[in-house]
Symmetry: C2
Subunit: 361 residues, 2 copies
């Protein structure tokens, strides 16, 4: 006799308590209490919810947040009226600058046009983060530009730079960038500095300077790829079982028929697919976890459905199982990112915004 309960819908569970614990752990690694541990909550806190994440971190003592743009800044400002909020995209127009000053947001200044906006503004000085490119080759002034910069209207809160290979601890480029930052330090002897992202924190205390900017590590990304993850897991992504299917004959599975099952094979059909952020590249590659068993994904992941081989499951369990873990304690973000041949952070930011979310705090 089957029960007629409604389908347990899929969900993404976000453990905010573990975000807070990760924050405290990173903070405990810093050179001393004078180093500020900020939090990068840009990109909707890597897709996990900027409001919820900044709120819990603020409760646990974080007073410095990094966001992408003004829209994100205002979300953080609401939950943390007195926090320092730094805006990566900086200020790209006069109206934007007025809004930033009104809400006490600090723009990152990364190129001449942004500096000109500051310099042409009537009220001075204006607090900024002054961003130099010591190797990322993306945003930030080039070191050779220093002498031409007119900084007299800037109140520099931090001189900033960004690591480009920090997750490979032994990469000589880290040391090169460190030396470049030290040379900047000579140029700005009275300024505070911020250099390290999550990876930088693990490179050692000489990388910490005055403020560190962890992002991924807060959300459970394994910075020490391939080694034991020093951070706690934050995300649990679960799918519901839509159908428990025993095949009556040999049959191909999914679009293009890339996998074949035999007569008698047990297959679970899950209500989750690439629309939800369970990426199509995982087709015939990844596995899900359920009640002590790892079940391989078979066939092509569809937009809203995924099939898994459930032959290992005892009959009773096969017929009653309702949920499986796609990502979580047993199937790490790192495992999925490796199979998807991408960065762990893309797995996080790719999770469907629309999906039901449960916040643990």
């Amino acid at each position: 006799m089957h029960s007629f309960q409604a389908l347990d819908s899929q969900y993404i569970k976000i453990n905010l308590l573990n975000v807070a614990k990760n924050y405290l752990k990173l903070k405990s690694m810093l050179k001393d209490a004078s180093v500020v541990c900020s939090a990068v909550v840009k990109a909707n806190a890597y897709g996990l919810g900027i409001k919820e994440v900044s709120e819990i971190l603020h409760q646990y003592g974080c007073c410095d947040f990094w966001v992408m743009n003004i829209e994100e800044a205002l979300i953080v400002r609401e939950t943390s009226p007195h926090a320092n909020i730094y805006v990566f995209q900086g200020v790209n127009g006069v109206e934007e600058l007025k809004a930033m000053l009104h809400y006490k947001l600090v723009p990152v200044v990364s190129h001449t046009r942004q500096l000109e906006i500051i310099n042409n503004f009537p009220n001075h000085p204006i607090e900024v983060i002054l961003n130099f490119d010591t190797g990322i080759g993306r945003d930030g002034f080039q070191l050779e530009e220093i002498e031409q910069l007119n900084l007299k209207y800037c109140d520099i809160r931090y001189v900033m730079s960004h690591l480009s290979r920090s997750e490979i601890k032994e990469h000589p480029f880290n040391e090169e960038q460190l030396q470049a930052v030290k040379s900047l330090k000579e140029r700005f002897p009275n300024s505070k500095f911020t250099f390290s992202n999550s990876g930088g924190i693990f490179l050692g205390q000489n990388y910490h300077f005055d403020l560190v900017r962890p992002g991924g590590a807060l959300y459970g990304v394994n910075i020490l790829e391939g080694k034991k993850n020093p951070m706690l897991n934050v995300v649990e992504f679960n799918a519901s079982v839509l159908n428990h299917k025993i095949f009556n004959k040999a049959h191909s599975i999914g679009y293009g028929g890339t996998y074949k099952v035999n007569k008698g094979d047990k297959v679970l059909i899950l209500n989750t697919g690439y629309y939800d952020g369970y990426r199509r590249v995982l087709s015939n590659k990844s596995r899900v976890y359920a009640e002590g068993f790892y079940l391989p994904v078979i066939g092509v992941v569809s937009m809203n459905l995924t099939a898994v081989d459930a032959n290992q499951l005892p009959d009773e369990l096969f017929h009653t199982i309702k949920n499986v873990e796609l990502i979580g304690e047993k199937i790490t973000i790192e495992e999925i990112a490796k199979l998807a041949n991408t960065d762990q952070r893309e797995i996080l930011t790719n999770l469907q915004y629309n999906c039901k979310r449960i916040y643990i705090k």
Copy 2:
């Protein structure tokens, strides 16, 4: 002298008028006026906005919509009070069934447990879509199960099946599935049938039966991969230029330093990255379009930033350019999907839900 206008933010422009035109074009391909052209608007209309899409299609005469679940159905019900709404995930509990009946939603019945829920419900008959698996190997009853099915409480609106290789026109499996559906037709001689997705419509009129269910083609997916797209483009995904950078010396670009520029090279830094749905796999592979020029993406696509080689741009244009097309008329979804080694639909559903959207209608 630079202008100080605010940064033109990135946006996703969705041409609803072209969705409607695509719908009318597909409808014109059908066997005759008795064949119903429905619209698959599940998965938030493939990520493009279920409310907006169903609304315009309803205005253009579409009265039959397919959604994933009740939540989506209710969005369509609001804009189209009298439309037929079919729910792919079907009914998975008594309360769900009550809600479906209340809102006049028609569940797809794909397996025994769902059929039992119907059969155990006091009010009969209940309108359903009866789903058979003729080859997709995913959802749907197996043909061998027919004799055991107790269908006396079902009012079958359509018998349904789904193609698994419809985008490869010459694939013999299409014909095999067609034959299986024809054999079902003998078993249910008085029932109406629905079989074809977008691809099926292009396989020929013998695949159309009583109702067709296009999805991707409505949204500009090229069903005839590699050939000229018969559908109109729907999505335009634009990024803003954050920084116009001329390198003072040879420099590596992005995380891991996977690309090197030389002294004097011109690079545009865009405010869009994999968070926004511009996938990381496109790193060093794809190109963007701006004012007659195709500019290659260089280095690794970051979460919120992408660098492009802008050496081809004349100086004046390089310094003033504000926007580039990532996906649109010039850079098709098909091109991006091919480079990303995935299905065109995943490119659509992966676009950031949070991103600013502009609807053309």
